[in-house]
Symmetry: D2
Subunit: 356 residues, 4 copies
């Protein structure tokens, strides 16, 4: 089965081509169909901002490493006992690349994000088909296209970020980083009560995209004094909620200063393994009583992510589409940063749902 994979470990941005990480299309064995499993013919599979981290060996270095966990498709086959959520062959679906075992202590305590068997069904989905446990598969609403539907998973991340903000309607919100998670978080926070909604992002195209999708203000942290701007926007109060979606050590340093007293700051990205942010306990936890937290993975958020998909404007996040065999070019485009999101068309499937 044709599958997009990391074929050499290394930074995809390495200027030295001999050391650079490589992406290719390789043949993987078919994934077995267990009695409670669902085989999905993949329509679209999007490149995630974490995929380059996998190329760098964040989660392991044995190549080839199959990629792809943001996908949509059509049910092709069902295991004999895969009947608990009423799926039928032909259903348009998307899903969660993680299966939660239900048996380990975190699963039983309601914290599936820490499931001890979380990787058991994590199979590469940038492929012709993917086979998941039925608990991972969600039927798409009729008014969501397969192309938009492949963003269910990153939308679930934005929903979980929103959940952890504990926002109250009217709170002032700033988001740092205008990549796909930042743009989705922006739309989700726009519909979840944010005021003075501000994106901090150095790339002009991404700031403009944010303004088209509900940002009240944007800040260029390179050319502008973000502290002064934050002060103006919030009339000296600071932001009640600050979300980092940049993953950038340089960018995160200033976020505690623009947070309001009592604010919540969410670290919603991946950070370099060895990066330690200096945290002044007296200024930020004692005097300002900030709350800092983060997001790893997003169980429990999928049903609501599915519910809000029709309310989001996903056209600009799905405008750059490549065929499976052109995956190398797709990743080059992703690295170029021209589009916040690049999508792989894994099969050419006629979509009975809303066209995008």
């Amino acid at each position: 089965m044709r599958t997009v994979a990391v074929t050499r470990i290394g930074s995809l941005r390495d200027p030295d081509a001999t050391a650079r990480g490589q992406i290719g299309v390789v043949d993987f064995p078919d994934q077995p169909l267990g009695p409670e499993d669902v085989r999905i013919r993949v329509a679209y599979s999007a490149i995630c901002g974490s995929d380059p981290h996998l190329a760098e060996g964040f989660f392991g270095t044995d190549v080839p490493i199959g990629l792809g966990h943001e996908l949509s498709g059509v049910v092709e086959a069902l295991g004999e006992k895969a009947h608990r959520n009423g799926l039928q062959v032909g259903d348009r679906v998307a899903g969660n690349f993680l299966r939660f075992c239900g048996t380990c202590t975190p699963c039983r305590a309601g914290t599936q994000q820490f499931c001890e068997h979380i990787q058991d069904y994590n199979r590469p989905g940038m492929a012709e088909t993917v086979t998941w446990h039925e608990s991972q598969v969600y039927r798409l609403p009729d008014d969501v296209s397969l192309l938009h539907g492949c963003l269910l998973e990153p939308t679930s991340v934005a929903v979980r970020i929103a959940d952890k903000t504990d926002i109250q309607v009217g709170d002032r919100v700033a988001i740092c980083g205008g990549g796909p998670i930042g743009q989705l978080a922006l739309q989700v926070m726009r519909m979840h009560g944010a005021t003075s909604l501000t994106l901090i992002e150095p790339i002009a195209e991404r700031r403009e995209m944010a303004l088209r999708h509900g940002a009240d203000e944007v800040i260029d942290p390179i050319s502008e004094d973000q502290y002064r701007r934050a002060d103006e926007i919030t009339r000296g109060q600071g932001f009640d909620v600050v979300i980092d979606a940049s993953g950038s050590p340089r960018a995160v340093r200033g976020l505690l200063e623009i947070a309001a007293k009592g604010a919540t700051v969410i670290y919603g990205a991946m950070y370099p393994h060895d990066f330690e942010m200096p945290l002044n306990l007296s200024d930020f936890l004692y005097l300002k009583e900030l709350t800092l937290t983060g997001v790893f993975v997003s169980p429990y958020a999928f049903p609501r992510a599915l519910q809000i998909l029709p309310y989001l404007d996903l056209d600009e996040l799905t405008q750059s589409v490549f065929d499976l065999e052109d995956a190398t070019e797709a990743f080059d485009m992703h690295i170029s940063g021209r589009y916040p999101k690049v999508v792989i068309r894994c099969n050419d499937i006629t979509d009975s749902g809303s066209t995008s």
Copy 2:
């Protein structure tokens, strides 16, 4: 000082004119200006859905009962110590008709809605001027007109209702009752993460207004089967959040049926003193684990109400305006139900803020 007041106790809807409650304009003595007080020349003062309840004697029967607690205006005078929130003569303001003492046990426990001295500064604001403690007064943002600003108080109620829903983004929401609180709650829930947002309301004009302001669906509980409709809209799940803004004993009976398992149901209106809703504990609290709660008054919600005012569309809620001396006609118009909100112009003040 000219003040709108209940001049005879009785239902404003009583067909018997001799028993009907009466509204008039009477002369009240000037309210004293204490050292921490602020005198406001009132621009607009809106009729509240609870005003007819006052006419019926809900909170007392000694006439005249001065009315008006949804107001905006301009600071006319400041007590010598009224300096804690930087107010200046000439500032455009709105506010909270209740002052919280800060000293009683509820105030010190963070539950000012139960303040034991809550009535100390509740002065009629449908008048030429009103004098409040500085803690009750909020400066309006430049982009909010005095006409829209008089809706700060009912907006704070809608914000507090939203707070008590504990909504998570994507939750399905139904609102029963399309009067002013229902319409404001609809707009607030629209911007606070609601999906499948549905208004249940028998008056066609109010349903149409809701559709113009963000409702996904409307239900006419008279001509439609609301249970079947709710089932269709939520694909059999029920609504995660149900808000009653009707205050109607007949309307509230069916709301528990359309609530999803685990849903929150907010009783956000005033109800007849002696009305007892039959509550099946087995069906609704045991098997469905619903949470039922209500809203009395709304401390803590004003700063965020002020923050969201510019995001609301308040034109239709402020289109029916009467002069102070025409208060009787204004109340007749209110009772007619033609407009969800009727506003009294207490003084003719040139508004330096955003025009509406």
Copy 3:
């Protein structure tokens, strides 16, 4: 396999012996051991306050209805794939009689209490053995005896009740009903921050038991004026948390009066199918802003129930023990009300854990 069962539908309290419900010991077929299942040789299985409701046909009327869902025992056999929580043959265990499917919408939304397949593994545990899915089985700590361990499930109910109270340390707490859930809730709330902890219970022995286990005060609702007593105990403030563990229509009527403004009232028992409690919306949801909610089943609470078992004093709740073949007498004793809890010894197993 010998199993305690309802053999005739009817009230166990019916004075007419010919109409009275009957409990007997019958032979049931062995439960199959699936690949992820665990067979437990049952040591102790306690009678639950809901068992008489089952005898009355609350959940169905086809006899025999096998009973027993509060149990402890020793692992006798493991399915070939039952390895996710490290269980071994011989382990001392207790568990949850419900299996949550992990696949339906409620399971995936984090509300397993509403799992659509909740009954799939609900098998009678007042039997020689019970076979459960591994996700239902918890290893007992070394310092908890098998006799005490059979109370894991009702303890999980008390934990979930505690969770839903949202208690803050120092809150005043009243519990209505001194049966096993009431007594366990009392101990759990004692260790969870309650002050002025009060049990309302007409049976003197149960009030005395509560005083031995941490109640500050007890009220006999028959001979005392519970409103006056509540007022004295709380210095006129009312209770911040009120828990009903009585299930009694007569008892629940007065609980809203003794609740403080802003209090949470938990309905933590089963109620007659057709009982409708009259709820004055104006007094209790509008003016007092009470929050009413309930508890059906208790997923997510088991890990913490296991953690607190060693901190509870369970001797008095496990002092009345009958052999399996004497189940009829055991239920007679349960109905007599002499002991708040009656336990069936299903097998005579030497306990390597802490003796009780």
Copy 4:
């Protein structure tokens, strides 16, 4: 009026006596009694762990700096309008050294800890009398002695720490630092649902005191491997709640490692102005999803602190008592660390309440 004060800025621990901070008793003018004020004849005033920070100039360097904010006493005089909480001359009281204005934005948003006028009534209470606004004064329960009552304020800090933990009953809890706040937090968390309650503290006497007051385990971070011990105590899960009450840069570094996945870590002390804790975002906020927060001051916690005072064992925290004129010796004793708490007897008042 005789008042204990910092008379020279400097570290009280400075080995160089000429540079060392100094504490003395000086004459301060009487504090004016405003119309809503209450004059209290002080019985006891305890030395706070933050007092040496004041000697070092944390909040200012103009000497003399009057000290004392943990106090109890008897009402001596009432302003003419100080009637809102029913105080009478002769009442036994304690209180909050901070007055919240009720008018600034934080006060009106329900975050009085950030009140912009918080210092207006912060008057030295290690003195013959102190005069506070009535909103700062709480009547002591009859069963709390004046000696114990002077710990109301630090108890409120422990209560607020407990509030911010969001503990669920059964959570595993570790506390770092066995000074007065650590010891009070230990007792409060003991009564608020903690299991595996562990104190980390290098001083043996403080560990032993903790074991006498409800700690399940203690760890000496100097002689023991705290990571291995934490692992044993929590069976590899880590602590669900970690509280720092040490304020020590060295001690706080290891706390994130012993926290469970998803845990809450509270920084509940003061930290050096310039201390920056290195925070690995990937390990602790991304992979472990920890929540970090802190506590500045504790509005809203006083009513519940008052409620739990009778449930705490305060004898060991009030065993070292000095007369006002011996304040220098009292501070020497405080610095010696022999007792976790040292108390100044400001007046010799016969206590009508429970003797200690």
